[in-house]
């Protein structure tokens, strides 16, 4: 199933794009597994996702913990801890 991935801040810069569409392989069912799968691509992805504890996530515009199940999500965003205000 196709999934839209969004990246923000230094995650976006390291990956080299703000948005892409991916086909998730079988077995990638949680945000954690997605982060590991992306890191395994190497290059900027490996750099962006080298420390999963520095990554925060949202599924369909709602914050979720890294162990959340992707399920039938249309959009997953990966980014650093927020720093607004």
């Amino acid at each position: 199933m196709a999934l839209d991935l969004l990246y923000f801040a230094w995650v976006r810069e390291a990956v080299g794009t703000g948005q892409e569409r991916v086909e998730l392989p079988e077995g990638v069912t949680t945000i954690s597994a997605l982060v590991d799968w992306l890191a395994a691509r190497g290059g900027g992805y490996a750099e962006a996702f080298a420390q999963p504890d520095r990554i925060r996530a949202a599924i369909d515009e709602r914050f979720v913990p890294l162990d959340a199940t992707i399920g039938s999500a249309r959009e997953v965003a990966l980014f650093p801890p927020v720093t607004g205000g």
Partner: protein, 145 residues
């Protein structure tokens, strides 16, 4: 009355305050955040997650209106590049009495800092770096749980 805006343009706190008076309010409180100019920052840039940002701010405002019986809550947050001294964020609350307006205003700015998808990047001369999240902000947000 909830008013949420995420915009590149500057805003006028006076106009925002005037807009939330009325409707039976006896007290109006506000917070304005500015770009600090004391540590060599030449530009501050705000990135956000369009769509989710507005939804997250609206959700916080709805919680504040329900919890403190507010007659109005306004959140204006700028994005894009800003210079030291410029206003970044405005939170305004209107309630029957002062404590509700003040507490709701604190709640909104504390929770906004940890629950709305904004990211700050500071530039000092030629050097740019993403601002790290602060654990003191997490603690401030936590006290409203």
């Amino acid at each position: 009355m909830i008013d949420i805006r995420v915009q590149t343009e500057p805003f006028d706190p006076g106009a925002e305050l005037g807009a939330i008076e009325g409707g039976g309010a006896g007290a109006v409180a506000s917070f304005t955040g500015l770009v600090r100019s004391d540590d060599g920052v030449t530009t501050l840039e705000l990135e956000h997650y369009p769509g989710m940002t507005e939804a997250a701010l609206r959700d916080l405002a709805e919680q504040a209106v329900a919890r403190w019986s507010l007659s109005a809550a306004t959140i204006v947050h700028r994005v894009g590049p800003m210079a030291p001294g410029e206003r970044i964020v405005f939170v305004g609350t209107a309630a029957p009495h002062r404590q509700a307006a003040l507490d709701a205003c604190s709640f909104l700015i504390d929770r906004l800092k940890t629950e709305a998808p904004f990211w700050k990047r500071e530039t000092r001369g030629d050097e740019a770096r993403w601002v790290d999240a602060r654990t003191s902000d997490d603690a401030a947000a936590q006290r409203w749980r």
